[in-house]
Assembly symmetry: C2
Homo-oligomer: 376 residues x 2
Amino acid sequence: MYNTSKVVFSPRVRKSPFFLSTMKYGAKAFTVYNHMYLPISFEGTIPDYNNLLKGVQLWDVGVERQIQIKGPDAEALSQFLTPRNIKKCLIGQAMYAPLLDFKGGFLNDPVMLKLAEDCYWFSIADGDSLLWVQAIAAGYKFDVEVNEPDVSPLQVQGPNSAELMANVFGDWIHDLGFYRFKEFNHEGIPMVIARMGYSRELCYEIFLQDHSKGDELWECLWQAGQELNISAGGPNIILRLEGGILSYLADLDRSNNPYEVGLDWMIDLNQEDDFIGKEALREINIKGPAKKLMGAEIDGDPINDSNEDHLPVLINGKVVGSMNAMVYSPRLDKNLSYVFLDTEYASVGQEIIISSPDKDLKAKLVNLPWLDRAKK
Amino acid sequence: MYNTSKVVFSPRVRKSPFFLSTMKYGAKAFTVYNHMYLPISFEGTIPDYNNLLKGVQLWDVGVERQIQIKGPDAEALSQFLTPRNIKKCLIGQAMYAPLLDFKGGFLNDPVMLKLAEDCYWFSIADGDSLLWVQAIAAGYKFDVEVNEPDVSPLQVQGPNSAELMANVFGDWIHDLGFYRFKEFNHEGIPMVIARMGYSRELCYEIFLQDHSKGDELWECLWQAGQELNISAGGPNIILRLEGGILSYLADLDRSNNPYEVGLDWMIDLNQEDDFIGKEALREINIKGPAKKLMGAEIDGDPINDSNEDHLPVLINGKVVGSMNAMVYSPRLDKNLSYVFLDTEYASVGQEIIISSPDKDLKAKLVNLPWLDRAKK
């Protein structure tokens, strides 16, 4: 469990369409993300994690707002916004497609969904990327409409998720490929159903397209999950670290580029089209990145808290990086952490000291991720 | 006091340079604003308000991030971003200068500070306007550097604020005009000191320019305030409503334009320079706004809570608007609220019903504000 204080609820911050359901089923702590409340803990970090692994869990991730780009230049603008070669993306396919600035730094790390030849969604992490995309579209004169549609994602996570989804929406769920999606209407509830999510477990993401139907959709899944060990949860730091999954602003921000966080494979510098940051990435590609994100395993007893701040990382008393996230993984029986290190020190086996407020923590560098994706 | 739950502290959300001081002096509840924790309650809404009015109060508003525009085209870009005629602004002067989108809707409602002929700050409300400004600068090819500098505001609020400020920084404080500022260095702490703030009380805003000195600055003011009834507080909803002050995203958002919220006086459609939204504002100016923000006084006993959501406003059973904010003002002994109404109903004296979850509230429309600015 994170350290907590009180948060105020006020009309300045939006509630997701699933907010009442999350309160009903025990949401205990929130953060604010994209000007919305995000339920982050129900029974606690470890119980929530255990509940997910023994059944199926609903996550209100309505905070993942969509940027919809629609019109004749939708593909051209989408390509201009990301280093990924999106021209390879099929209709009904999704791709992790970071948004970079002109220096190659991360503005956001959304998943892109291609809904039609002239319609794309970017499902964003925390940040008003909508402003960036709209201003780029205006300034560079792309012929598109850019807005935030009425779309609120709900994730269905865990080993029983496929069975639950198939029971509710039909057996076609079993044929849905990884990072593929389908538009679907369930008893008057319009949605897009995708096979993906914010963990390496078996999972699905339902993009609800009518905010008035949030609690109805939640309840429908909840009832169908009674025999499948259904529970309520939220994005979980143990699952995230086990799977080597990034959290924008926690693990990386604008000061980082894709080469630093192992996302080089996503950059297509050879494509003919120009994209924002291409020139900067070319230079970084030649020089090599100045720092690197790695895993680190922390010695000793299970740490029973996660870090509240980024912490300094030292070798021989010299600060050589920072520690961004740490947590104990029960199934690996290890203390996991993410560290950013000056490239010269970023080697597997390197011993480091993480300087926490309580005491110095000894750790050793490893490659990411600890766990691969669960197969059906 | 607002309704509360828990908020998590994690490295994903930034802490202000005054965070430790606010915890030390009793911060009890937070919200998240511009990816930072904003302390919003110490002893509670009414005690915090009373403490301020009987002395001087420190507010950590480090969440007000600055967008710095610097370079040969700094004035041209700043003008392009706002309908206010900023060419009238002097060096050392600040102006409320909203950022609008191409439809005339509010992207943000910052105060602009002119630091030099080629350097402007926009001190922003909640939203990543930096992305908007950087993309506009790139797309429209303005010759400027746009970034978020190391600047964190701290407000000094209340009747004893001038005396405290003069005791610490010198008697020149008494000569500082309203919405004027001066760069200043106090014992190695670099800052900009302005006479303005987020209330109609006597107040000052210190723009700290070195985040490592936050607690030192706080402590220095705190010690000097021992004879002046110093306390810790935060932006206060009672002061805000009394003074007719707006809160972006609570009271107004992108769906609103300046004509709807009484900011017509800020728009200069006759200036030669083009600005974003000019065409749209011209049309709204001719047709008139579709809705209007007004005050409303709610009948009955003091309401002992503020609203968690926007609430529907009805006349004769028909929804004609929404209620955005409400609170009881002890010194006015009135229940104050802000309502948005279809223009045809927006007349002083009009009776309305606010449909709250508990019960219907009877109210009557009045002009804003209830209180004018306190003079020295």
